[in-house]
């Protein structure tokens, strides 16, 4: 009789094991980010182009109104800074989803998904890793913006952090949900046209909503329904030490919905898009 002992399946994992898993995923994402310097540069160049070039031509767009959370008149570049911070996170979220499609095509995702930890937790770790990377990008942008005389109150740099984490999670979860429906890397261009551009332009990132309302009441309602608008406003208020409760509710709610959607979509037995085994398409 062989003396092989079979370890009974464990009912749970220790806290340390969860942390090790999170550490591994975050570290991999960070390494991937650090090894792609072009990605870091391009993530910064994009909002800076908007800030330095676009904002210069649109100084009059704000008119003479004072809009909360601002307590006085502001220049246009000050107005669009929170929108550009959210844009960094939007692109980062989509980039993460792109990397998930890539991982699936290349078979790397199998390594991730064979982990015995719950699938939902793995996806959440991936989401956190992506959000952490977006925070690095946003704070680098804030440093450059500060040199450009866009200086929120010092406490704002701290109070904006939870808002950035939440909006990063929401946009990352959205990216993840979308990535579950994309079978090939080539299809990703569609995400640019159907997700990123409409979300960014139909929001309060570039112009205050009262301006949009003046131009088109219909578009105003679309902007109001756009979760990206609320991510921008959450960041904008937090940057000035205030909380926009409606935006907080919308962003938290959307994060939960997108996250649950992504977990369901990545569950092989219930996936929204029927796929073969992970990493097996190629």
């Amino acid at each position: 009789m062989s003396s092989i002992t079979v370890t009974p399946s464990r009912r749970g994992f220790s806290f340390g094991e969860y942390v090790t898993c999170l550490n591994g995923i975050v570290w991999r994402e960070a390494l991937r980010f650090l090894h792609q310097r072009e990605r870091f540069v391009s993530a910064l160049v994009r909002p800076l182009v908007w800030l330095f070039i676009f904002a210069a031509g649109f100084r009059q767009v704000l008119g003479i109104s004072i809009i909360p959370p601002y307590e006085t008149y502001i220049l246009y570049e000050v107005y669009i800074a929170p929108g550009l911070m959210a844009m960094i996170q939007l692109f980062n979220g989509m980039q993460s989803s792109l990397s998930m499609v890539y991982d699936r095509e290349m078979g790397n995702m199998r390594t991730l998904l064979v982990s015995p930890l719950p699938r939902g937790y793995l996806l959440f770790c991936k989401l956190l890793a992506g959000t952490a990377v977006s925070l690095l990008q946003v704070y680098a942008f804030l440093v450059i913006a500060w040199l450009w005389d866009i200086a929120p109150p010092p406490i704002g740099y701290l109070t904006v952090l939870p808002a950035l984490v939440l909006s990063g999670l929401m946009l990352g979860a959205l990216g993840m949900l979308i990535s579950s429906g994309i079978k090939q890397l080539e299809n990703f261009a569609g995400v640019m046209n159907f997700v990123i551009f409409p979300m960014f332009f139909a929001s309060s990132a570039l112009y205050p909503l009262w301006r949009v309302q003046e131009g088109s009441p219909m578009l105003y309602y679309v902007c109001q329904l756009n979760p990206f608008t609320h991510a921008v406003e959450l960041i904008r208020f937090a940057l000035y030490g205030q909380i926009n409760w409606i935006s907080l509710g919308v962003v938290a709610g959307c994060t939960a919905v997108f996250m649950i959607g992504a977990i369901l979509a990545y569950d092989p037995s219930r996936g929204l898009a029927r796929r073969g085994p992970a990493g097996g398409e190629t």
């Binding site: 100084r59 003479i64 004072i66 307590e71 006085t72 008149y73 502001i74 220049l75 200086a151």
Partner: protein, 323 residues
């Protein structure tokens, strides 16, 4: 030992948390015929006082007990009791008084009467008119040299700064400046006299002894036509190192290095920024924005606009003191 640390820590925390002593800012609303009172602690309008027609020049009396406001269309200066916050008396000016200046002791007041080409001299103790000085057309800017010997009056149409000897009440010199001189301000050490020219778009720096223009501050804001840059109010810090100049419809206050006479920064404020006043501790500078009906608060050390407060219709002048 730790108790002592705890106690001193608490005392420090309390000292830091205690609000700075509040000042009261009085803003004249030219079109609203009111004076708005702003608490500089809460930055809110605590009272609106009904005054005469077209209130413009406004200043605290030297003892801080009264606020005097020139009500141009009523041809008089009204006196507001700072405690009661209501008009209690009037002073006899000439027709259409606009700006005025008091001597250091607060005994004599000089009023520029825009429609009469005169400066009226008023004895503040007797509250009586004691003389007139004939000056150029449309007199406006008024200031007194730190030694009290020279009164400066600018006349908007004659484009001159008139130097008036306060003892003889005679003009001793006239200096030609750029078009439409609005406001005059001495450096605290008396070494320079600054005159803003609304249409000329400059601030002339005058040597008060030689009576010559020695330099000019010029302004340029990207994206704005030069006609939109119309300097009016000037505020000089007590150390004479920094000056703030309100640029009217440019909606900006220029921060000027008062030594090199170069603009270092433009601060965005409301529409048609006109006059300004420092809080007595010089922590804040309040500027009136006529067209947008508000007052912007500038953090002087940080050189940043921190707040804008709605006041009455067409705010024009502002004065601040301890209540």
């Amino acid at each position: 030992m730790w108790r002592r640390y705890l106690l001193s820590g608490t005392v420090l925390w309390l000292a830091a948390a205690a609000p700075a002593s509040a000042f009261m800012a009085y803003v004249s609303n030219e079109k609203g015929n009111t004076v708005s009172v702003i608490d500089t602690d809460s930055w809110t309008v605590t009272k609106t006082i009904k005054v005469g027609q077209r209130p413009r020049g406004i200043e605290f009396s030297r003892d801080g007990k009264f606020v005097m406001v020139a009500v141009g269309d009523d041809d008089t200066i009204q006196v507001i009791d700072a405690k009661k916050q209501e008009v209690v008396d009037t002073l006899p000016s000439g027709p259409d008084p606009e700006l005025f200046a008091q001597d250091a002791a607060g005994k004599v007041m000089y009023v520029a009467n825009e429609n009469d080409n005169t400066v009226t001299v008023i004895d503040l103790e007797k509250r009586a008119r004691i003389g007139d000085v004939q000056v150029g057309v449309e007199p406006e800017g008024m200031t007194i040299s730190p030694d009290g010997k020279i009164l400066i009056n600018t006349s908007e149409t004659t484009n001159m700064a008139h130097f008036i000897d306060t003892s003889t009440r005679q003009i001793v010199a006239n200096v030609l400046v750029d078009a439409r001189p609005r406001f005059a301000e001495f450096k605290h050490d008396g070494s320079e006299l600054w005159i803003s020219s609304e249409i000329g778009g400059t601030v002339s720096i005058i040597d008060p002894v030689k009576h010559v223009v020695t330099g000019k501050v010029t302004f340029s804001i990207p994206g704005l036509r030069s006609e939109a840059i119309q300097p009016v109010g000037i505020g000089m810090t007590k150390d004479d190192k920094t000056a703030f100049v309100a640029l009217g419809p440019a909606n900006r206050v220029a921060v000027v290095d008062a030594v090199s006479h170069k603009v270092t920064k433009y601060l965005l404020v409301g529409q048609r920024v006109w006059h300004m006043a420092f809080t007595p501790d010089e922590k804040y500078l309040l500027v009136t924005n006529g067209v947008s009906n508000d007052v912007s608060v500038i953090d002087v050390a940080a050189q940043k606009v921190i707040k804008t407060i709605q006041v009455g219709e067409l705010p024009w002048g502002v004065t601040i003191a301890q209540p």
